[in-house]
Amino acid sequence: MATLEQRAGNAANEIDERFGSANFVKRSARKIFPDHWSFMLGEIALYSFIILLLTGTFLTLWFTPSQGEVVYEGSYVPLHGLTMSEAYASTLRISFDVRGGLIIRQIHHWAALIFAASMFVHASRVFFTGAFRKPRETNWLIGVGLITLTIIEGLLGYSLPDDLLSGTGFRIAEGVLLAIPLVGTYLSFFLFGGEFPGEDLIPRIYTMHVLLLPGIFLALITAHLMLVWYQKHTQYPGPGRTEKNTVGYPFFPVYTAKAGGFFFIVFGVTTLLSAFATINPIWLFGPYTPTQVTAGSQPDFYMGFLEGVLRLFPNWEIQAWGFTLPLNVLIPTLVIPGLLFTSMALYPMIERWVTGDNSEHHVLDRPRNVPTRTGLGVMAITTWLILLAAGANDVIAITFHLSINAITWFFRIAIFVVPPIAYVVTKRICLGLQRRDRDLVLHGRETGRIVRLPNGEMIEVHEPISETERYKLTAHQVPEPIQLEPSTDTNGIPRRRVLASKMRARASRFYFEDRVPPPTPSDTHELESSGHH
């Protein structure tokens, strides 16, 4: 009998003779992956997606995507005799009659929430550390696309059971479509196959939810990962880590074991969560009927900010020349999200234009070292959180016994006031942290030991920090603002594009006017020679 090594060798030979795979394995098996806990956020998103594919496939085996009406006679007695769609009835069947159906349904729903949440947090990590910079702008764009699709995919998914809560979601979607000028009613009639709710919606969004969008997801995620692999992962700054190397663990075996193991951890935790925390108990909501609604209707959290804008926006509507333009729906649901996502997508290009930085970046920024970007990011997150809270203004009113009108007005003002404050505070905190880093490098760590000198002077002894730590605190660059070029060149000929260069100088000042340059060896030298420590 051949040894294990011989048998593995034979198998490898068979494969290599057909696919020439030795070359790929040679280059890839020991590929280096930098390690940091924050690099796992994207992994959580990826693994949640795989969980969604697995559990979703399971659910399709019993789900009936149809709005055909049936009278319920299944296991759940409280709903006996009610007329409902086959979609709702089959969801009840999955929940009560298919063994393990409810746990799979709950894993699917929890995994969707974790998928969306981990994408938001992963995008924040990429933003705050500057990982979106050249050459990774394309991956940032793919990421923004994935987040946008996730919101749509989520809405379609929680609408499929056709319960009272999710049906209300599509009623709102109809109102949004109708608000689009000129073609709104046409779009709505084409989506619903006529008037709302019609009988075509569930089968149509089923195909989109289980085939069309997952296909696009799969393609985009594959491209996202291939780019990570090809461009190699970024790394945090530190001694020995440069723009020309990757420091970390080899793909095989350490990274394979860690990343593969982490998939099982994510799947396991999602499963345990789904075992003990009920989510979307559709049997309590009842089947959808357009004449009813539940108080406290709340979408899933990733839709919350849209719900918030829709609730806060003033009731403006234009009626002129026989046409109606419902700004109260159009602006909050289409214009504002469009602007938000476009500015998010374009941010890497905007920052590159401001900084004029055209070089490759593989070493990440510590967020404190880019105070303006960090401030802008916190401002965006603050805006998002205010809108999320505003989307739950009725829940807040009931929980805290407050006036819904007062809460709404509070949010209407807060949305303009709080984000700029968040920006300024964050930027100041960053600059303060940078000064503290500078202090540590120049004066060392406070030891708490007070020494009395022969001349009676009392001083606290400072201990110099290690070389390793010092390098980490001083390795970054702090650009100076771009100076406005004179309006004529050296030959006295007026320059072109003066306005653009003015705007750029202004933007650069906005980014880099407040700067704390990292200390240099000459700074410490000066301190030492002046005898002060």
Binding site: K26, R27, A29, K31, I32, S75, V77, D97, R99, G100, L102, I103, T168, R171, E174, G175, L182, T185, Y186, F189, F192, G193, G194, F196, G198, E199, Q231, K232, G240, T242, E243, N245, T246, V254, K258, G261, V266, F267, G268, A275, F276, P290, T291, V293, S297, F313, N315, G322, T324, L325, P326, N328, V329, E360, D394, Y471, T474, Q477, T520, P521
Partner: protein, 374 residues
Amino acid sequence: MTDQNDGTADVAHEPPTATSTSNEEIQRAGGLDDSEAPAPSTTSSGELATRFADPGLPAHTYRRSDIDPAAAKRREREVAALFGLSTLGTLLFIVAYFAVKPADASPSELIARVGLSTKLLGLGLGLSLFCIGAAAIHWAKTLMPDDEVVGVRKPMRSSDEDRREAIAALKEGAAGAGLGRRKLIRNSMLGALAPLGLLAIIPLRDLGPLPGAKLTGTAWKAGKRLISDPAGHPIKAADVPIGGVVHILPEGIEKMEHRLNEEAKATAILIRLAPEDLTRQRADRKGWDVSGIVAYSKVCTHVGCPVGLYEQQTHHLLCPCHQSTFDVERNCAVIFGPAARPLPQLKLTTDSEGYLVAAQDFDEPVGPSYWERG
């Protein structure tokens, strides 16, 4: 443990196995790499460097399992125990699947039995998966080599030579196709390809009928009795006490062809106000009520949720979706929230038998605004 030595091009410094690693080598790895680091963009003309030197990777510290075979053996047993726990989880899942059957439960026990089944199956599956992950990661962190390895990163930009060759190849291909010279082929090809998208769009036309005037009318007609929703009884004025509220639909709607579509438009709410609460009604709506009983469309004029919450003290109708608030005393004028228009009012009267009936259909389209609404 891996001790294969494949000399990859990707890895500048091949890691020795953990036990043979010398700190010096690792230090050298960092130092060596540092020498090829790009010079900082600041000019370094002064006597003192403008940046602190990169001290290189910190010295590698050994784990207990690297130096103590007994500790390594303990780690090995822990990993094996976690894998074993996973197998137990799988067994628990299988046992729970066959032992706990919600289908056998009596109706009163169904929820409890489904809950038990879900918890046991989830616990089994969760343990089974989580422990595999925990075992793999514990294995990687305690027994696989943990010295950091340095790999080379080349700039993304291709070499100038590669670029020249790429451009030459493209130019050669373009010249072969003669796109520049043969304008007739180029233009006719564009003419053939450009309208292809229409073939994907046009067949979508039959997704739905055109809107036409469908959004303007509802199932309410003059003389249609009001029936309570969902009970379905006709209503007499005397049956509604002051302050009473009834959700209503037009009689016969349950037999209409597209019942849900019709209900979605016709759904309305009936409220009886006290005479003193009727003083602020619009003059042109005089006579639309029957002894203080008024009826309004329940479809919110914002985005169409059913306006289902009635505050009896203030006579306000509140939409639970986005909190638009309508004042019933003033013909459902908007007093708060994002809705822009009052709820359409249904003119009421009574028939010969004394039942409440609609005097006419709504005199404007119900529900959310749209472009051609007027």
